[in-house]
């Protein structure tokens, strides 16, 4: 199943920008390999992070531990993980970024950051509805 995710961060620029809409799949069978962009959640935190895999160490039985980094960040994500946590594991993965549409979410972000813009949009929508009530 594919689910959309509105991307809010600058940490994967210039690939993704704030307001891009990402499409994720969650096929658990997909092996995790370096260079891939994965979506993961840090234990205890709600907001998922979409970063690239930098390092993996995988055992014969498939147990894997891996490290991630945002393209636009100077350092890897170890500082973001839980205290004492040095690696991510399969259980932390929420999905894989499979596709995206740029800028779609920018309207939502603008409405959030600039209330006046939100009222303008709502006003225009209201006007639109009134005008089209045949």
């Amino acid at each position: 199943s594919t689910s959309p995710l509105l991307f809010f961060s600058g940490s994967m620029e210039p690939a993704f920008h704030r307001g891009d809409l990402l499409f994720l799949t969650n096929r658990i069978e997909d092996p995790i390999r370096v260079g891939e962009i994965v979506v993961f959640r840090i234990e205890g935190r709600e907001i998922p992070i979409v970063h690239r895999v930098l390092k993996i160490h995988e055992k014969q039985n498939g147990d894997i531990k891996f490290l991630t980094k945002g393209d636009n960040n100077a350092v890897d994500d170890r500082g973001l993980y839980k205290r004492g946590q040095h690696w991510l594991e399969k259980k932390d993965v929420v999905g894989r970024a499979r596709g995206f549409v740029p800028y779609i979410g920018i309207v939502t972000i603008l409405m959030n950051d600039y209330p006046k813009f939100k009222y303008a949009v709502l006003f225009l929508l209201g006007l639109f509805v009134l005008v089209h009530r045949e």
């Binding site: 210039p14 690939a15 370096v34 390092k55 993996i56 160490h57 393209d71 596709g99």
Partner: protein
């Protein structure tokens, strides 16, 4: 695609740390015919290039470590002539699996990130194998 590498290892706490220097000569668009170049071009936002080392150790059946990466934006020169590059990221093993490891494969891969659409658009790669020496270096001129 050609890579020349010279390397030596040093112990750091309890894990092997590898040092690799490399040259990269690459022509990303080389060999593509016209229609491929056209498709490659119109929906390409950027190329994410990365040099990764892949190897097996006693501890782990598969290890992959990204040593270096670079973002090439659409419009940048698609030809790379990099000499004497040092790795951008520390090449730590999860243990002591680098010492005497004869079979480390260095691969240059690239993700094409489109302006919109499927990720990645294309993944390509070329690779070379390098051995690590049996002994540790105690002094490093790095």
């Amino acid at each position: 695609l050609r890579k020349n590498v010279e390397d030596f290892t040093g112990p750091r706490e309890r894990s092997d740390l590898g040092f690799v220097t490399f040259d990269i000569t690459a022509d990303i668009l080389n060999g593509k015919n016209d229609w491929q170049t056209f498709i490659f071009d119109w929906n390409v936002k950027q190329l994410f290039l990365y040099l990764s080392a892949e190897y097996s150790t006693k501890n782990n059946a598969l290890n992959q470590v990204v040593l270096w990466d670079k973002i090439m934006l659409r419009g940048d020169n698609p030809r790379l002539f990099l000499k004497d590059m040092k790795s951008k990221y520390f090449f730590f093993d999860d243990g002591n699996g680098l010492k005497g490891n004869r079979n480390i494969t260095l691969t240059l891969s690239w993700n094409v990130v489109p302006n919109a659409g499927i990720l990645p658009l294309v993944t390509g790669s070329g690779h070379v194998s390098v051995p690590f020496p049996d002994t540790y270096e105690t002094t490093k001129s790095y």
